[in-house]
């Protein structure tokens, strides 16, 4: 992949500047945690990055973007809609292909969700829904991951498993999260956002608790 670059980027909402100007270079292999108070601009920064619409990026929005009336299988499969023809996808909607079932099941197993394969997403709990969105992203198999609070509804061990899977799958990750401990363990670079600008940008081992507290 090529580096992900923001150059003096900004975002306005209803006439007020909510983010920026921000400049940011993301090199392949970097695992970045975006931290900061809610409303600081993490989500906006992620969407600025995503606006490039590169095909090697997968995105997990905070709202998850699941289709409640479809099964878990179909929601996860949707990660690969772009790689198949419309006709293939339509048939898979009516009669799922065996190979796709196997592939999706494999992804769900990593997240301890294989037993929900044929459940309708609308019937799932909040934590399960979040893992379906994660599974869709894993299934997409892209280089770069942008994720907005992908583990907010998960308990300790579950969120560890999800973080591990995400880091393993994607060469480069940029994840907004509020669990600072988790952020420091999984990311190699921490970016702190405050009032729409980058207030902290450092390798995670170099950041101490005091620096982080200043952000909140």
């Amino acid at each position: 992949m090529s580096p992900l670059i923001l150059n003096q980027a900004y975002a306005d909402f209803g006439g007020t500047r909510v983010l920026g100007p921000i400049s940011l270079h993301v090199q392949p292999g970097e695992h970045i945690a975006l931290v900061g108070r809610s409303g600081a601009g993490k989500t906006t920064l992620l969407s600025l990055l995503y606006d490039r619409r590169r095909s090697d990026i997968t995105f997990i929005p905070q709202t998850l973007g699941l289709v409640d009336t479809l099964s878990v299988f179909h929601n996860v499969y949707m990660g690969q809609l772009a790689t198949h023809s419309g006709a293939y996808n339509l048939i898979n909607l009516i009669r799922p292909f065996r190979t796709q079932i196997r592939a999706v099941t494999a992804v769900l197993e990593q997240l301890d969700m294989a037993s929900t394969l044929w459940s309708r997403v609308g019937e799932l709990s909040g934590g399960q829904r979040q893992r379906v969105a994660v599974a869709r992203s894993l299934f997409q198999d892209a280089d770069v991951l942008l994720a907005d609070e992908p583990v907010s509804a998960l308990d300790g061990p579950r969120s560890e498993a999800v973080m591990q899977a995400l880091i393993k799958q994607n060469t480069t990750t940029i994840i907004a999260m509020h669990d600072l401990d988790l952020a420091r363990r999984y990311a190699n670079r921490l970016i702190g956002i405050q009032d729409g600008t980058i207030a902290l940008d450092a390798p995670s081992r170099a950041v101490n608790t005091h620096d982080l507290d200043a952000l909140y």
């Binding site: 973007g65 009336t69 809609l81 996808n89 009516i94 044929w118």
Partner: protein
Amino acid sequence: MRSTRPEHKRWSVLSAPLVRTSLWLLGIALVCVWLADLQIRSTAPWSELARFGRGLIQPDFATFDTAIVALTRTLAFAFTGVGAAAVLGMGLALIFHYRVVRIFCAFVRSIHELFWALIFLQFFGLHPITGVLAIALPYAATFGRVYSEILEEGDRGAVEALSAHSGLISIFWYARVPDLWAHLTSYTSYRFECGMRSSAVLGFVGMPTLGFYLESSYAEGQYGEVGMILLIFLITIGSLRLWLRPKLVVLYLLAAPFLLGAGLPIVWGNATRFFTVDIIPSPLRNGEGVAGLASWLGDLLLYQALPGIGTTLVLTQIALVGTGIVALLTFPLISRLFVDRFRQVPGHGLLIIGRSVPEYLLAYILLQLWGPSMLPAAVALVIHNGAIIGHLIGRQSSTLRLRPDVVGGFNCYTYEVVPRLYRSFLSFLLYRWEIIMRETAILGILGITTLGFYVDSAIQELRFDRALVLIFITALLNIGVDSLARTIRWQLRLRTTPAKLEAV
């Protein structure tokens, strides 16, 4: 936390109850297509269509002033009829919890306004009261039901906070109506739009509205004039939002009763004869007793009602499924998710035309072009109802928030959008089932052998006793379909209140 489904069993969209129900409807419709007579009978249907098309493109404004008078009459009938219906309907809504009121409303509603017009014509003649009542009565019954549903949904908190001695009427106007005002007015203005269509169509049975002028222009082959009439009707309905302002409505309502035209005076002797002689079954009139009545009724059921019911059911089913297909195909044209704002314009135009032109009028035109068969009726029903539902779900789809990394085009349609909208799509479609059937029956007046055909023939032959029995059967059929649709909606846990569905 449900995960009990066996893993080896693949879930397909076909196993979703909503889809299964749809497939059943589709299957039955296919059988109906096989049973139906869908031939084009006219000798040169396409050249005729081309001539008609030229009339639309080059409307002839020579008789513009006559058309404006007809438009004024159309508006006057709509305002008087719908206005009276709204007042009556609000009264009915307040006593709607009585079973007898509910049954009465269901019955009145299930008879099409054209049938009401045909009945009132017999005793009021071509007096404006015929047209006003034909609209007011069925509309009042609908308002009664929908208003009561709106009132039921509203918050009762304010009512409980008031002194119990505040008086029912004061409580109603202070604590209930203000909260629900927006909902009530948006539904009422939607129904006014329907009233405009009903009013125009009443011209076909002799009221001085647009339908009357359209029919005579058509009979004379004046396609340019037909084009002009359609054009001013479309513009009037299309610009409804511009001139249907709350303050102006008061003015319109006050003026409307004076703009209905004089019509012909009521001959009260006719009214008396209608009730005392005409509607008494002929065997009783002629003293043939119960045996005569039984064979009269038997013949009527076997040779008129049954074939009429058959054709009505077949055509309704085809129209219902066709409506669904057209809606699903056309809604992307006006959806933010598939086309940008600018490119939505032609789609919006198409759907506005489709839903503004009444089915009856459309069926009339197509019937003249293609000759008598079920085809023109089916196409007219599908265009009108498909455009209505397409418009509603298209608008709903524009409010969907998809995740930003969603893939576009056909994949987005099949995986993201249709699954999310299918529930409300099916609610809309099932809700329109009864409306489509009521309309199917009435299209019989144009010569397609649905129940309306037999009703109309009986009236032509001055056999009002037969006509009333057939209208009664039509009403029962509508009530039956309505309750079937309601059962299906209930079983699929779809929304059941039309108020929310229609005034979107």
